[in-house]
Symmetry: none
DNA sequence: GTGGTCTAGACCACA
DNA sequence: GTGGTCTAGACCACA
C-alpha cells in the first residue's frame, strides 16, 4: 500500500504522511476506513513504530485521520480537504508559471506540455 | 540583491545558492560578471562567511560560477544552463499535471489557470 | 441520553463518567433512579461493555451511584455532591480569573462577559 | 524559568509547551528572544532532549517560535497571539458560566467571586 | 554548538 | 491489541 524511498532526501515520516494524504484526498481511502495499526505498519515497512507514530500524529493534526484510543486510527471525513488539495495543486502550477515566464517560456509552450503529459497518461491506461 | 528569510525552513546556504542560480539562469547576472566577495556578502547579509563559502562552493560545483584564486568568483558561461533550467521547469510542470490528473483536474482547467497567471503577469508590468 | 464523541481525545469511559455526573449533579437523574444496565447501554452506544463497566466503577468509587447485586446500579443521594460541584465550578472560575489578570484582562471585562453569556442563555429559553 | 510537575497527569512535553506559551503571550519572552537550546534545557530540567524537541516542534507549529538551523530557536512576533489568547480565556469563561448557570449558580455569585480573586491578587502584591 | 531524524526498547492507559 | 509518552543513544546537516 505504501513504499518508502530511502534515496529520497525527505524524512521517512514525511514520506509516510504524503503517501497517506494522497490516498485520502484522491479517495482511495474513504471516511471511517481504518488505518493500519502503528505496529503493523511499522513491521510491514521495517520502520520503527515511533516514526509511524509521528506520521500518524501529523496526519491527525492536519485533520486527515482521527484516533480512538485503544481502537486505532480512522480516516476523517475528507470532502473539505479535496478542495483544499485542488487549490494546493493550482498554487503549485502558479509557481511553475511564474518561474517559466521569468525564464522566457511562453504560455503556449506550457499548454503544449500539458497536452503531452495528458497523452502519456492515456497511453498508460490503454 | 539577495534577501535571506530566516523563517524559511530551508538552510541558509541553499537559499543563497537558489537566489544566485535564478539571477544567473534568468540573465540578470551575465557570464564573466564578478560575484560579490565572500566577506562583503557575509557582512551585507549578517551571515557567517562559512555559509557564503559553502553556497559559492555549491554554485561552483554545479558550474554556475568559477573561482580565480586571488581575484574572486565569476559567473560562468551559462547558455547551457538555461536549457537545463527550462527542462527543470517542464519537469516540475509534469509533476503538477500528474497530481492534477489524479485529483480529477482536467487539462482544460490547467490551461485556463495558466492564462489567468499570464494576465496577472502582464497587469503587473502595465 | 448520552452521546459519545469519537473525535474527542478524552477516553470513552471518561466521557461516559462526565456525562452521567452532570446529569446527576444537575438533578436530571435523581436519588434512587435506576441507571441503564451495563449491557443495555453498551449496545445502545455500540461500546465495549468493559468500558461501561469501568465508567460505572468510577462513578461508584466517587459516590455518585451504588450497586445492588443482581438488581443493577442506582443513583446515590446527591445533595452533598451538588455543593462539591459548585465548589469545582468556582475553582475553575478562579483559574480563569488568574489567567485573565496575568494577561491584562480586567475584572470589569470579565463581568461584562458574564452578562453577555447570561443574556444569550435567556434568549435560548425564550 | 520553567518547572515540571511530575504529579501533573499531562505529558511533560505539553507542560513545557504551555509554560513557554504563557511566557510568550504574557510578554515575558519577547519577539526575537532566543529560546534556551534543546540540549541546555534538557539538562536543566533533567529531561530527555527528544521531549524538549517535541515541545519546541509544537511551539513552532503553532507559530510561537521559529527555528534557524544551526543557530537555535527564536520567539516569533507574537502580537497576534495575544489577542488569540484573550479570546481563549473568554471562551473558557463562557464554559464556566455555562456549567454554573446549569448548576443554579447566578451571575451575581460569579461576579462576587471575581472580586474576591481580584482582592487576593492585590494582596499578593502588597 | 545547534537542531532534526531515527532506532531500540520500556512502560502505561484504554478497549 | 491499540495508541501515547519517554528515555538512551546514535548519526546527520547546518552555521
Amino acid at each position: 500500500m505504501i513504499l518508502i524511498d530511502y534515496k529520497d532526501s525527505r524524512p521517512i515520516y514525511e514520506q509516510v504522511v504524503d503517501k497517506f494524504r494522497l490516498l485520502i484526498v484522491n479517495g482511495v481511502l474513504k471516511a471511517e476506513d481504518k488505518m493500519p495499526s502503528v505496529r503493523t505498519l511499522a513491521v510491514e515497512l521495517s520502520i520503527n513504530p515511533n516514526t509511524i507514530q509521528r506520521a500518524y500524529g501529523e496526519l491527525e493534526r492536519r485533520g486527515y485521520i482521527y484516533t480512538v484510543k485503544g481502537r486505532g486510527n480512522f480516516v476523517s471525513d475528507t470532502e473539505g480537504y479535496k478542495d483544499e488539495y485542488r487549490s494546493e495543486i493550482f498554487g503549485r502550477l502558479d509557481e511553475v508559471c511564474d518561474s517559466a515566464f521569468k525564464a522566457g517560456i511562453t504560455a503556449g509552450e506550457l499548454k503544449d506540455r500539458i497536452d503531452k503529459v495528458k497523452e502519456g497518461e492515456s497511453d498508460d491506461k490503454d
